[in-house]
Structures are given as structure tokens and as C-alpha cells.
């Protein structure tokens, strides 16, 4: 199976935004245009994260999802403010292939199980925002705004056991900084779960993606590095292929 290069688009509808440590947002443009451009460049998957849905207790990203579903023919994962099962099925009807739960799942892990019962585990991603805490990490929610007090390793196991099909593992400490990923985080979570891990946060370029392959990630989700043009999708794929990693052409 090919290692996946995924573009992560944080959306404060209607804009694509980027921040550092999930704060201090800059508007970057039309998310649908960015997504289509990445598709044309060979991206394997798109993640749309509505970063204010939890704050306002609403989900306003469905129009964007539907638009992209008509011109981006690779899988789309959509997250932000999914509280009830019908939030998830509504997103799938609008064009999402997978839904990403964070706050909703931490508050009520049964949500994972309920959604998986209808959509199947393969459509349920649990997003874990990890912040370093001593020798381990604690899980955050609401896009890095709220503490849960939960240990990431324990929560990752519980999320898997509740029916999650994939983990989107974000390093809060590294996210937006372009200072490299938290390899230890990925390695540690990899050792306790068997479901695929999409690693996110701090990727500077193709070398970081290779390091993530080596610690067991199934995919890398990239934001700042791609949006800024520091590296292209082709840069990542060519480098990985040259180093013996299977990637989709």
C-alpha cells in the first residue's frame, strides 16, 4: 500500500486559514481552489477542518464539501463540530468520505461507536491533538484551545477500541512552526494501536515525510509547507520514491 500525502486545509468558512499552534490565523484564500490545485498536482487525500465549528457549536462547511466533491476526485475527510451521528451522515451525504471527530468523541466516546455502526469504521477518523506533558502527551480539543487532561496514549487506545478506523495525530507543539514533526509521538502511538496513523504537524519538507514513514505513519498531513509553496506534492512523492517508499504516481 502506498504511503499517502495528504493536504490539510484549516477552514474558517469561507476562508482557508493558517495559524501557528492553531492560533493567530491568516487568511490564505479560497479553500476549494487550493484543494483542486492539490488534486491536479497528485495529492492523495484532502482534509478539511472547520476550526471554528466547535467554538460556535455549528457546522457550516457542507457547501465547501459539496463543491469539492464535484471537482476533487480523491478522498476527503471533514472535521469540526461533529457532535451527533446526524452531523456525520449529513457530511457524507454532502460529499465527505470520512469524518473526523475530536471534541465530540472526547466528550462522548460512544459517538465513535454510533457513527461507525452506520458508516463503518473506515469512515471514522479520530483526531487527536497532542501537547507534550512531561514524558508523555495530553489530548487537547477545540483546535488546541481546551485541555482534556487525558493521556494521549490511553485515549488513542480507547478511540481504536470504540471503533475508530484511523487516527489523525496532530502535534500541537510542532503544528504551524515548520520545525519538524514530533517523531516520538508517532512512534509511541504506533506501538499501541493497529489502525493507520496520519501524522500532522511541523512538516518542513520531504525528509520529514521519510522520517514519519520510518516511525510507522501511514500518511502525512501537510498544511503550512504546501500552502506556502515551500514544497510541492511532486517534491514529496519524488523524494519518497527515490528512497524506496511506495507512493501513488
Amino acid at each position: 500500500m502506498a504511503f499517502r500525502i495528504v493536504a490539510r486545509l484549516d477552514v474558517k468558512p469561507p476562508n482557508l486559514v493558517k495559524g501557528v499552534h492553531l492560533e493567530g490565523l491568516r487568511k490564505l484564500g479560497d479553500p476549494a481552489e487550493f484543494a483542486r490545485a492539490y488534486y491536479d498536482q497528485g495529492i492523495d487525500e484532502i482534509i478539511y477542518q472547520d476550526i471554528v465549528a466547535s467554538l460556535y457549536e455549528r457546522n457550516s462547511i457542507t457547501d465547501l464539501v459539496s463543491l469539492s466533491a464535484t471537482n476533487v476526485f480523491v478522498p476527503m475527510t471533514v472535521g469540526g463540530g461533529i457532535r451527533e451521528t446526524h452531523d456525520a451522515t449529513a457530511l457524507v451525504r454532502a460529499g465527505a468520505d470520512k469524518v473526523c471527530l475530536n471534541t465530540g468523541a472526547v466528550r462522548r466516546p460512544q459517538l465513535i461507536t454510533d457513527i461507525a455502526a452506520i458508516l463503518g469504521s473506515q469512515a471514522v477518523v479520530v483526531g487527536i491533538e497532542a501537547k507534550r506533558f512531561g514524558e508523555s502527551w495530553r489530548a487537547m480539543t477545540d483546535c488546541g484551545r481546551e485541555h482534556t487532561g487525558r493521556d494521549v496514549i490511553e485515549w488513542a487506545r480507547e478511540a481504536q477500541d470504540s471503533g475508530a478506523g484511523e487516527l489523525l495525530l496532530t502535534s500541537i507543539d510542532q503544528e504551524g512552526t515548520m520545525r519538524g514533526p514530533d517523531l516520538k509521538l508517532v512512534e509511541t502511538v504506533r506501538s499501541v494501536v493497529r489502525i493507520p496513523i496520519v501524522a500532522h504537524g511541523g512538516v518542513r519538507g520531504p525528509e520529514d515525510a521519510l522520517r514519519l514513514v520510518e516511525v510507522g505513519a501511514s500518511a502525512v498531513a501537510i498544511a503550512a509547507c504546501l500552502h506556502s509553496g515551500a514544497a510541492s506534492v511532486a517534491d514529496f512523492k519524488t523524494f519518497l520514491r527515490d528512497h524506496g517508499v511506495e507512493v501513488r504516481p
Partner: protein, 206 residues
């Protein structure tokens, strides 16, 4: 070509409709079985669990319409869950029968042989000496898979394609006369997927 897309409330409709339009065809949404007999090809997509999907199909009357269409020998395409529901049964929901329009059953992927769910881009090849037909007009291609269960079909199925999930062999596509099942998501597999979908619809219409 008029293509009926069976909407049972749990599928990724936007993606499937968009992909069929990209192939230059006319998709029509079916919600109650009425469109199923009128189309040249009926497509059953799916992003859901077997039990939930079958329960909905039966409740809407679409299951009955699909059975009639199969009996009439008219072309039908199942994508992912659709391909599974065409078969007789699934381990995912042992108490819920499948449509049985194709002979076979659905079993769980083995977590000791590969990661479950099998999620990602995998190379698909024609199996054995079967003519490639709709499968490929060239080299093996990468397509997107997202599933925890796989199809096992009767040996008289033709145009089989396979892929690997870790150490496990999985059926990527099957054909039994007028019924075609595809385990991966051609509507989500980029340009290669769209090309495949185009060939698939053309082949299923016969």
C-alpha cells in the same frame, strides 16, 4: 447513457454523481426504485455498514427493484459496499441477507495479515488469464480502497481483479454476467479512477 444511482441515504452521493458526469454520462438519482428499471446501468454506491445499508435498501423498495433488474439481465454496478450487498451474505451483519444478485459472500479482513481497515491506495491487477475487459487497458493502476470486509465470489465469476492488503489477497473487482462489483472507490481514485469508471459503465451496459 442514462445511469441510475441508487440513493439509500448512506452513500457519498455527491462524489458518485460528479464522477459519472465527468465520464460524460447522465446520472439520475433513484430514491424509491422507480428509476432503476429505466436506466441503462444502475449503480449502487456505498459508504456504510452492510446491515444498515441492506435495511435501508429493503425499506425503500430499491432492493426489490434491483432484484427485478438482475433477473431481467440488465447491467448493474456495485461500488464498495454496493459490491458487497450484491452478494448473498456478510460477516459484518450475519442476520441480514444480501441481495444475492451475485454468488458469493463477504468476510472480514484478517488483522494478522494486514492493517484493518484496509485504507489507502493499492495497486490492482487483473487475475490470471481473464481478459482485462474493463479492468485496465494497460498496466496495473493504483486505486483507493477503504474497507474492513472483502468479497469472496464463486469461481465462475469473470473479469476478476485482485489487490493486496498486507499479506492478504483481496478481490478488487468481479463480474458475473450483468452484475459487476468493485471493492475500491473509482470515484475517489483520481484520473485513473475516472477512466476506470468510464470503461466500467460502458462494459456494464452490455
Amino acid at each position: 447513457m442514462r445511469v441510475a444511482v441508487v440513493d439509500y441515504g448512506l452513500c457519498n452521493m455527491f462524489s458518485v454523481l460528479a464522477a459519472i458526469r465527468e465520464c460524460g454520462h447522465d446520472p439520475v438519482l433513484d430514491i424509491d426504485g422507480e428509476q432503476i428499471p429505466r436506466a441503462e446501468v444502475a449503480v449502487v454506491p456505498g459508504v456504510a455498514a452492510f446491515g444498515a445499508g441492506m435495511t435501508r435498501l429493503v425499506a425503500t423498495g430499491q432492493a426489490a427493484a434491483l432484484l427485478r433488474r438482475a433477473d431481467a439481465g440488465d447491467g448493474m454496478v456495485g461500488l464498495c459496499l454496493g459490491a458487497q450487498m450484491f452478494l448473498d451474505s456478510s460477516q459484518e451483519a450475519p442476520d441480514t441477507p444480501g441481495l444475492g444478485v451475485a454468488r458469493g459472500r463477504v468476510v472480514a479482513l484478517d488483522p494478522t495479515l494486514g492493517t484493518v481497515p484496509n485504507q489507502g491506495w493499492t495497486l490492482v491487477r487483473s487475475a490470471g488469464d481473464t481478459p482485462s475487459g474493463f479492468l485496465s487497458d494497460g498496466d496495473p493502476e493504483y486505486y483507493y480502497f477503504s474497507h474492513s470486509f472483502k468479497c469472496l465470489v464463486s469461481p465462475d465469476s469473470t473479469e476478476i481483479a485482485t489487490a493486496r492488503s498486507g499479506a492478504e489477497s483481496i478481490l478488487a473487482a468481479y463480474r458475473q454476467e450483468n452484475v459487476v462489483g468493485v471493492q475500491f472507490h473509482p470515484e475517489r481514485s483520481g484520473a485513473a479512477g475516472l477512466a476506470f469508471l468510464g470503461r466500467l459503465l460502458a462494459a456494464a451496459r452490455v
